[in-house]
């Protein structure tokens, strides 16, 4: 069996199709498959796929920081959790619960957390940034965990799912299928926005910060402001993922603000391939699937994080580009 190098098997230039045509055809195929999936899959896997998309959105948001700005965030659980609790607040306070209000509240919560983290953490670089984001997310965790009167403390908040409404046009109860489509629509829109952002002049400055921060500053770009914008933007999308998760599962719990969520986000990124935007979604899918399969093979008590942690370490040493790393250039063109 002969395996040709990848760039030769890709029919670039040979078929006369341009790069963008292939990209958009591929994009449409993937979206079509994901949209059709809930019609074929059983209930469990339908929910599973929806959650993978939500985790993928969270991971994609942190890819903007890790992959494009070169700052590793170990604090994305704060944005995700604030999105969850924001959505929960909207759903509990306003009657009847409103979907768009939940999204608005969640984004506001995440933006608040992101502003706080962005203001303080972007003063520091590299490792210092990673540590301070971790510590800041822990501040939010402690506040949420101990402020029982408002957040429900350890038990979290329980609320009911709002209706899927488009004002004046459509109003119906969410089913697992429409929930999946809604999540897919949000994740797809987020992907397109983030892709546009990373290819914009703003995104180019972010990548230049990743490549050489002192030089970017010397050219005259206000690096601190760009970094803060990058953290804010990343936090907003992470908050959006939190809102989706809250609506999907009808609860908000302090566990999701805890460090482990941030850790998982970093793992999705590294496994899938940083700096690709779609890679983190693939990474989330790989991670969740492996976890589910290991639990089915060896029982629920099996410490799935031991083999996955080893895979993670091996990938950092031997395949730091991640699963989709080979396509990084192509995807970003």
């Amino acid at each position: 069996m002969t395996t040709a190098p990848l760039d030769k098997t890709l029919p670039l230039g040979k078929t006369g199709l341009s790069h963008s045509a292939i990209f958009w055809i591929g994009f449409c195929v993937v979206i079509a498959v994901l949209a059709a999936a809930p019609l074929v899959l059983p209930e469990f896997w339908r929910r599973f796929l929806t959650e993978v998309l939500i985790w993928g959105l969270l991971a994609m948001s942190s890819d903007l920081l890790i992959g494009y700005t070169g700052m590793i965030s170990f604090g994305h659980s704060a944005f995700f959790g604030l999105g969850m609790y924001g959505a929960g607040a909207a759903l509990l306070l306003v009657n009847p619960p409103n979907l768009w209000l939940a999204i608005l509240f969640g984004l506001a919560g995440a933006a608040g957390a992101a502003l706080f983290v962005a203001y303080f953490s972007t003063r520091l670089r590299d490792i210092y940034f990673a540590i301070t984001t971790l510590i800041f997310s822990q501040i939010f965790y402690v506040i949420i965990f101990t402020w029982t009167a408002v957040t429900g403390g350890e038990n979290g908040l329980i609320f009911t799912r709002p209706h899927l409404t488009i004002p004046f046009i459509y109003n119906a109860r969410f089913t697992t299928t429409t929930m999946h489509w809604f999540v897919l629509a949000v994740v797809t829109a987020s992907y397109l926005i983030l892709r546009r952002v990373t290819q914009s002049p703003f995104g180019m400055v972010l990548q230049s910060i990743r490549e050489n921060e002192p030089r970017t500053r010397a050219i005259g770009y206000p690096v601190a402001r760009y970094k803060m914008m990058s953290v804010m933007l990343s936090g907003l999308f992470a908050g959006l993922a939190g809102v989706l998760y809250a609506i999907q599962n009808e609860f908000a719990a302090p566990n999701f603000v805890y460090f482990l969520t941030s850790g998982d986000t970093v793992i999705y990124n590294v496994i899938g391939g940083i700096g690709t935007l779609v890679g983190p979604i693939v990474g989330a899918g790989f991670f969740q699937l492996a976890r589910e399969l290991l639990a089915r093979l060896f029982g629920d008590q099996f410490p799935y994080l031991i083999p996955l942690g080893i895979v993670f370490i091996v990938m950092i040493i031997f395949l730091p580009q991640g699963l989709l790393g080979f396509a990084r250039r192509w995807l970003n063109r």
């Binding site: 003063r123 520091l124 490792i127 101990t146 410490p303």
Partner: protein, 298 residues
């Protein structure tokens, strides 16, 4: 006049003294953990995410050895040695291939190590916390409290370990190698110092210090698989507040932060008192980002 008198009466002097002692004891343990962390960072440019897990594993090894032999001090020494060997093995397998790569890779790798170790501990020892009996059970009277002598011994032992480590750095051959590598890696290599082995040795020493503090600390609360994260977070705060890679600064910051936390615990719930250390961190980042205890800003 009456108001002033009332104000002085409202200060609980006895509580303040008790909390000062508590704070210094906690600070010395924290200093022992943080000095390993800051050493590894200062020499290798590696932020060791797995440091809390080495602390936790050290405590577990202590639990096992003490249960088998009944001797606390044997457990302390055995735990430090075993975890040092484990640390050296981890460094050789995972961190050595990453020398020369972006330092962010090493923080990710050590994060992976911490995941594996923590879940191994959960799998092996279960979620129920274990207990080590205090090796010294006598107490002395501190106001209305029977204060255990053991806690004072912890503080003294931690100080002794840090002190002897400092002497080791200053006078032993390997200590000179370590300092030379910290100053100029390339030059040290050119002078024939085996830099990769210095790295391994430093990681092993840091691991041993974490393990020792784990065993020392274990009798005061329980040992469980998740104890590492709390301590590594505190140690990170201390290391940032004290100035990264600055040994003296870390020790000063450890005692400073622990004292503040124990004073705060007089008026708040202990679980909320950690917020005080977060506030110290934020203020440090705002006004002295290079660290509170660094004499000249770098």
């Amino acid at each position: 006049m009456d108001a002033v008198g009332h104000f002085f009466h409202s200060i609980p002097f006895d509580l303040i003294v008790i909390q000062t002692v508590n704070g210094i004891v906690a600070g010395m343990i924290l200093a022992l953990i943080a000095s390993g962390l800051t050493l590894i960072f200062g020499i290798m440019d590696v932020v060791n995410f797995a440091h809390g897990e080495l602390f936790m594993l050290g405590a577990y090894v202590g639990v096992i050895v003490i249960a088998a032999t009944g001797n606390f001090w044997l457990g302390l020494v055995a735990s430090a040695l075993i975890v040092a060997i484990l640390g050296a093995a981890i460094q050789i397998v995972t961190l050595r291939p990453l020398i020369g790569r972006d330092p962010l890779n090493t923080i990710l790798a050590t994060f992976g190590i911490s995941l594996v170790l923590q879940n191994y501990a959960l799998w092996q020892f279960g979620p129920v916390s274990r207990k080590i009996p205090e090796p010294i059970s006598s107490h002395f009277t501190l106001f209305y409290l029977q204060y255990p002598w053991y806690r004072i011994v912890i503080a003294g032992l931690s100080a002794a370990i840090i002190g002897s480590f400092w002497l080791f750095l200053k006078y032993s051959k390997f200590g000179v190698w370590i300092r030379a590598t910290a100053q100029d890696r390339v030059m040290a290599q050119a002078m024939g110092i085996p830099v990769p082995w210095v790295y391994t040795g430093v990681f092993a020493i840091g691991a041993a210090m974490a393990a020792a503090s784990g065993v020392l600390f274990a009798p005061t609360t329980g040992v469980d698989h998740s104890m590492g994260l709390d301590w590594v977070l505190k140690a990170f705060i201390v290391v940032v507040v004290g100035g990264m890679g600055n040994l003296g600064g870390s020790i000063a910051a450890a005692i400073f932060v622990s004292l503040l936390e124990s004073y705060a615990a007089i008026w708040m719930d202990p679980s909320q008192a950690v917020i005080v250390s977060f506030v110290v961190l934020i203020l440090t980042l705002l006004f002295r980002p290079t660290g509170l205890f660094v004499s000249t800003p770098r």
